[in-house]
């Protein structure tokens, strides 16, 4: 049990500490693919350090919610990072929340960010919160469809069981998971404010979704948010890997496999980050009102995945 707790702490720390590195890697890949010299891979850490050293300016008339929300956001993401099996499968946290609760944790973070964005009453915060909710209410059902499909395959909504079923039982090909995988990718792009749904590097306030919500933040608050955003990308990637490519995650009680599991995670994340950058490079940002079509397609694919499972795999 103590070892379990140690592994749990180690995995969460690993995620929290490596998340900016993944962000730096994606930015680096994007720069290369655009044909320009890239910022150092450690740049996100420098940004965080810089922001932590700055004073946090809070608008007059802000309620405590505004200061509170970044901590909730970061906390939710750290919790999620503790639930998703990344290197080991028998984490003490895992039974605390199944995959549906995990979706709820993401939703909780989002609600707080949206409320905080509307707190001061600037038009951009409200605008961003409204758009974020538009994306969210379309993305969540699609995400649920994806996890339901995986749950059907494994007969459980527990992530540990799903990983166990997919990674360590006899190898089988599940066509349903192909559909679910594409749907998950689409949801992940939308949820992480990536192209083609949002543009994380834009300076055009009228086009922003996520960035519009955090325009009022500065200093340590902004640093926490930026860190949490990186952590969200990391956790989502790990969730995708756990659901669709769980090979390499150490089996319950197998400590010897742990170093290999960390290595496998890093390789998979590096490949995933490169793939993300490639996709972003080739796509342009979609018109905002196309986003419902995009996420509608994701939902459709999720439903299709479930149907394929019921028709072909039962």
């Amino acid at each position: 049990m103590t070892i379990g707790i140690l592994i749990q702490i180690a995995q969460t720390l690993l995620a929290v500490l490596l998340a900016p590195l993944l962000m730096g890697w994606v930015n680096q890949c994007r720069a290369w693919l655009q044909g320009r010299s890239a910022p150092p891979i450690l740049q996100p850490y420098r940004t965080l350090i810089k922001l932590f050293h700055k004073d946090a300016i809070v608008a007059h008339g802000a309620t405590p919610l505004l200061r509170f929300a970044p901590y909730v956001f970061f906390g939710c993401m750290a919790l999620a990072a503790g639930i998703v099996p990344m290197v080991a499968n028998d984490l003490p946290f895992s039974p605390a929340a199944d995959v549906i609760a995990l979706v709820g944790v993401f939703a909780l973070a989002r609600v707080f960010m949206a409320l905080a964005a509307m707190d001061i009453g600037t038009s951009f915060g409200t605008l961003g919160a409204r758009r974020e909710m538009l994306v969210a209410f379309l993305a969540e059902p699609a995400l649920l469809m994806v996890v339901f499909t995986a749950s059907f395959v494994a007969n459980s909504t527990q992530l540990t069981t799903i990983v166990e079923a997919l990674a360590h039982r006899a190898f089988a090909i599940y066509p349903s998971l192909a559909f679910a995988g594409v749907a998950f990718w689409m949801v992940a792009m939308a949820e992480n404010a990536r192209i083609p749904v949002d543009n994380p590097t834009t300076h055009l306030e009228l086009t922003m979704i996520h960035e519009a919500m955090i325009l009022e933040y500065s200093g340590r608050h902004l640093a926490l948010i930026e860190w949490a955003v990186a952590l969200k990308l990391f956790t989502y990637s790990a969730l995708g890997l756990a659901l669709f490519m769980p090979w390499g995650i150490a089996e319950t009680g197998n400590f010897a496999a742990m170093p290999l599991a960390v290595l496998a995670l890093l390789v998979k994340l590096a490949a995933g980050g490169f793939a993300l950058a490639t996709i972003e490079t080739f796509l342009a940002k979609w018109r905002l009102f196309r986003v419902p079509e995009f996420l509608g397609t994701a939902f459709l694919l999720g439903v299709l995945a479930m149907l394929v499972h019921l028709l072909l795999e039962v």
């Binding site: 055009l204 796509l283 979609w286």
Partner: protein
């Protein structure tokens, strides 16, 4: 000369660009405007002047673009309560120019619907007129709060989004007031004038050289166009045209400025739809373009290469080959990038049918320049009223009639290719000869007008000389004056997140019109 059905007292002036000059009584201005409208002309610029020191009163000046060239008409107004009849009923683009003329000089457009202040912004008292000759430019005022009554849209679910003048990116200041339902735009109202810095007052008493330098700094991205227009006006006032080689070099600089700006804008259009490759590749091309400017002519943006009487530098040894080769390389890369833009579904989805200005609307509101050509207005000073060398090096005008973001991108592509061709032709056929002709001192009261097709549209500088060859009144006009108001109806029905893209496709100047 004959305009429409009537004879008007206008005489052609000597100079590189065809200008007809005359004075009409103020009450006849609307009739003249109607005649200009009737023959397919447009109002280009409107400004005022304080002539009380000459024994008169105030004057209002209007430059019309007519098929034969430019008609520069002035009307004398009284010294007390100067007023002239409103022209914005005939030419809507006159509205903001009239309001600016009132703010600076206190001359009233009687009968105008919109009498709100435009430039003042509470920076000087309501009864102070900073462009009058008895106003001391060194006077400092405490800025006051200035409530600007925006037009309100009311109804269920309508709300306002105020944007700017400070933006999230490093761009010029301008305020945009959106009335929206959800993300759909019901009304946009612009408020500009935040960069008013008193340039027209600053011109007073400058020498010709200082004036040309300052004119070039009115809007940095159109430096060559403004500097050339100012020099053209100065040379017309002095009655001394520049040597032929200087004119050809000026055209070379102007086309290089056009290509540099178009490359930058095409990159920005990619960036605004989050297409990073387009942004980076176009800006790489622009950077190499600017570096060659620096290497050959000593300044990346060709500042102060055009001077009164000619140009300040010649083609250095080997420049001909370097310029021609660069055009070939850039043409090849731009052709490849155009193919990517044209065939990228995501980009085309964002560009096509976004921010449409139909040709009829463009004609009615006087949309000009590049944006006008993308909305079916075949207006280009290099073609309509060519000054040397454009009378020998023919320009193929690029137009489009969809009037959307895609059309404005398409016109930019077309003009890049045409300018690359022009540069090669200019370099190949460049006549030999001196670069500079000493400019004789112009007589007091001598006038001149210069009109140059900059990358954004026609740039116009009109001036009158004072004593000792010093400038008395200079008006520099940027085409953004006509084009800013057209964007208001142009964005209607679009969604708020598409506005930055539409704005970028026009890419209008703030500094150039705030003066």
């Amino acid at each position: 000369m004959r305009i429409g059905d009537n004879e008007w007292p206008l005489e052609q002036r000597p100079g590189c660009t065809p200008v007809w000059r005359g004075r009409v009584p103020a009450e006849r201005l609307p009739a003249l405007a109607h005649d200009v409208r009737g023959c397919g002309g447009q109002l280009t610029a409107l400004w005022g002047s304080d002539d009380r020191h000459l024994g008169g009163g105030f004057a209002i000046h209007v430059a019309f673009g007519i098929p034969q060239g430019t008609a520069w008409v002035s009307s004398d107004l009284g010294a007390e309560a100067p007023a002239y009849p409103d022209l914005s009923a005939v030419f809507p683009q006159a509205d903001r120019m009239q309001r600016a003329a009132f703010d600076l000089l206190g001359i009233v457009a009687s009968g105008a619907v919109d009498a709100r202040r435009w430039l003042r912004h509470g920076a000087w008292p309501e009864d102070a007129w900073p462009l009058r000759r008895d106003f001391d430019a060194a006077t400092r005022f405490e800025p006051t709060l200035d409530a600007y009554p925006f037009i309100q849209v009311e109804g269920d679910g309508v709300h306002e989004i105020p944007v700017g003048p400070i933006h999230a990116g490093t761009i010029e200041p301008g305020h945009f007031r959106f009335s929206v339902i959800g993300d759909r735009i019901l009304k946009l109202e612009e408020r500009l004038g935040y960069t008013h810095k008193g340039i027209e007052k600053r011109f007073e008493g400058m020498t010709a050289e200082e004036g040309a330098r300052l004119a070039g700094r009115v809007s940095g991205d159109s430096h060559v166009a403004f500097a050339w227009a100012c020099c053209m006006a100065l040379e017309s006032a002095a009655g001394s045209p520049p040597p032929a080689r200087a004119q050809w070099l000026r055209a070379l600089f102007l086309e290089r400025e056009r290509v540099a700006n178009h490359l930058g804008d095409l990159g920005y259009l990619g960036n605004d739809v989050a297409f990073g490759i387009g942004f980076m590749q176009f800006w790489r091309l622009k950077e190499e373009w600017l570096r060659l400017n620096a290497r050959l002519f000593g300044h990346r943006y060709l500042f102060d290469r055009v001077v009164p009487g000619g140009v300040a530098c010649d083609l250095p040894a080997g420049a001909q080959a370097a310029l021609t080769d660069q055009c070939d390389v850039v043409a090849m890369h731009v052709r490849q990038l155009k193919e990517i833009y044209d065939e990228h579904a995501g980009i085309q989805d964002r560009f096509v049918a976004t921010g449409i200005v139909k040709p009829e609307l463009a004609a009615r509101l006087g949309l000009t320049g590049l944006a006008g050509r993308a909305s079916g207005q075949a207006v280009d000073a290099r073609v309509d009223a060519p000054c040397p060398p454009y009378d020998q090096v023919k320009v193929a005008i690029v137009t489009h009639d969809h009037g959307d973001v895609a059309a404005r991108a398409e016109v930019r592509f077309g003009e890049v290719f045409e300018s690359l061709r022009l540069i090669q032709e200019l370099v190949r056929r460049m006549p030999a000869g001196p670069l500079l002709a000493e400019l004789p001192t112009a007589a007091a009261g001598a006038e001149g007008l210069g009109r140059v097709e900059g990358w954004r549209g026609e740039v116009l500088v009109a001036l009158r000389m004072g004593a000792d060859g010093r400038l008395e009144r200079v008006h520099a006009h940027d085409p953004s004056w006509q084009n800013w108001p057209v964007m208001e109806p142009g964005v209607l029905g679009n969604i708020v997140p598409d506005f930055p893209l539409i704005n970028k496709s026009f890419n209008l100047s703030y500094s150039g019109q705030d003066l």
